[in-house]
Amino acid sequence: MGGAVTTRSTSQGVLGRDERRQPLVARRWHLRDTPVAWLFLLPVLILFGIAVVFPLFDTIRLSFYDIKGLAPPKYVGLGNYTRLFSDPAFLHTLGTTLTFTIGVTVIAVSVGWVVAMLCAFAPRQTLPFRVMIFSAFGISEAVTGYMWITMLRPGADGLVNALIRSLGFPDFAQPWLGDPNTAIWALIVAAGWAATGLPLMLCFAAVQAIPKSVLEAAYMDGAKPVSIMLHIMAPLSLPGVRVAVFITLLNALRAFDIIYVLTGGGPVRSTETVGYFMYRESMTQFKLGYGAAATVILLVAVLIVSIPAVIQRTAGAR
C-alpha cells in the first residue's frame, strides 16, 4: 500500500477508458450513488441552507438598495456597485487586503508547518510547546491585541522599542502602529502570530498521518532530520497545508477584531482591508446595502479564483 501516495491515474472522467473496464457491480454504484449521496448530504444541506444560503440571498437583495441606518431602504439597482468601484477608499482596501492576507498566511503557514514537522520527531516532548503556540490562536483577540499595542508603543514604554534600543539600534525604534508605512507590517506580524496555531495543528495532524514505515525506512538509511523534513514530511503533509492555507487565508479576509484594536483601519486608512471595510460600512455606519455589495464583490472574486481550483481537484474523484 502506498500510504499517502495518491493513485489518481485511475480517473478518466465520464465514460473514460477505465470506467468501461470496471466490473458490473462497481458500475452499479453510480446509479445507486445518488440516493446515498443525498442521504449523507441532506442534514448538511438543510443546515447550510438555513444558515448560509438564506442570508446570502438576503444580502444579494440588500445590495441593490441604499440603506442609511433605520431610514426606509431606497432601491438603487446597481448603484452601490458603481459607487464601490469609484470609491477610492474601497479600491485602496483591495491592495491592502492582498498584502495583509498573503502576509498573514505566509507567516502563519510557514512557521506552523516547519514547527509541526519539527514536533513530529518528538511529539510527546513538544506537546507543551504546541499548546503554547495554539493558545495564541485560541485566546481572545481583543485582549492579545491590546498586549501587542503595549509592546509596540513608541517611546520608552514599548517593549519592542526598548529591546531595539538595548540592542544598540536607537534609530530603528519607531511608532510602529502610528506610521502608515509600518503599521500594516506590525499588524501582519500580530495577526500572523495569532493565526499560527491553526496551521501548526493541521500540519501536525497531516505529518502524523504519514505511515511510520516510510519514516523508519528513512532513518534506517541514516537520513538527517532536516532532509527527512524536506523530502518526506513536506510533500506528504500537503493536505494539511492546503487546508491550513485555505482557512488562514479566508480568516484573514474576514479579520476585523485584530485590525480594529491595533489600528482602527488607520492611520489614514492604511490598514483597512476589504473585510474591515465591509464591517465598517455594514455595522458601524449601517449602510447595509453598500456593505452587502462589497460582500457580494468579495464573494464573486473568491469564486473566480476558486472555481478552477475546485474543478481541477474534483476531476480526480474516481
Binding site: 448530504l41 438564506f54 503556540i133 487546508v243 485555505f246 468579495l298
Partner: protein, 273 residues
Amino acid sequence: MTGRAPRWIIVLVGVIAFVWIVPIIGVVVTSFRPPSEVVLGWWRLDNLTFTLSAWTRIWDAYPLADAFWTTLQLATLATLATMILTPAAAYAFHFLKFRGRRLLLILIINAFVLPQQVVIIPLFQLWRELGLIDSFLAVLIPYVGLSFAWSIFLVKNFLEDFPKELIEASRIDGCTPISTFRHVVLPNILAPIFALGILQFLWTWNALLLPLLYLRSDVPLPVLFARIAGTYDLNWDLRSVAAIITTIVPLLVFLVFQRQFAAGAQSRTGAKE
C-alpha cells in the same frame, strides 16, 4: 515515534514557543497586577505587587458556573454535530458521483468568505418569526451550518490522499457505499475529524456575535464578559482574567483531541504494503 528525538529540535521548538507566548504572559501578568502598575507596560518591575483582586471581582460579579455550563452545552453540541455530519458529506463529495456535485461543493466552500455580520440580521428576523429567540437552536443551527464551509474542505482534503484501491476493493467485494464509508474510510480519517473537532469547539466556545443577539436567559461566557469594559473604562485586568478563564476549556479539548493524531494514526485497515 522512532525513539530518536534529536535534542536540538526540542530546544528549537521550545525557544520558538517561549518567544511566541510572550503576549500571553502579558495577559496573565496583567490579570495579577493592579492596573496602575501595568498601565505603562506589564513587564515593568518598578512597583511589583501581585493581587487577586481582578480574579475575585470576576468571581463575585459574574455567574460563572451557569455561563460555563451553557457554553459547554453549546460548544459540545455544535462540535458533535459537525464531527458527525462532516465526514459523511465529505465522503459523498469525494467518492460518490451525483448531479450537482461540483456546484454544491463550490457553493459550500465559498460560503466561508461570508462574514458573520451578513448572517445575523436575516436570521434574527427568521428566528423571531419562528419564536426561536432564546433557544439553543437559534445559535446551534448557524454554528453547524456555517462550519461546513471549512470542515468539509478539511476532511475532503485528507480524503484526496486516501488510497483508491481500498474503495475499489470494497466495491468489488460488494459493499454498499454506506458500509464502505463506515468500515473502510471512517476509521482512517479520525485525525482530520478530531482536528475539525478542536477547531469547531474553539470557535463555538469563543463565539460572541450570534449568542449575543439570539440568546437572552442563558448566556455563554463570551457574552457574559462582553460588558466588562465600558466605553471609557477599559478594565484590562478584568478582561485578562476573562480571557484566561475563557481559554482554558478549549485548550483542554485541544490536549485531549490531539492525542488522536499525535499517537500516530498509522493504523490503516485494508491492504498491506
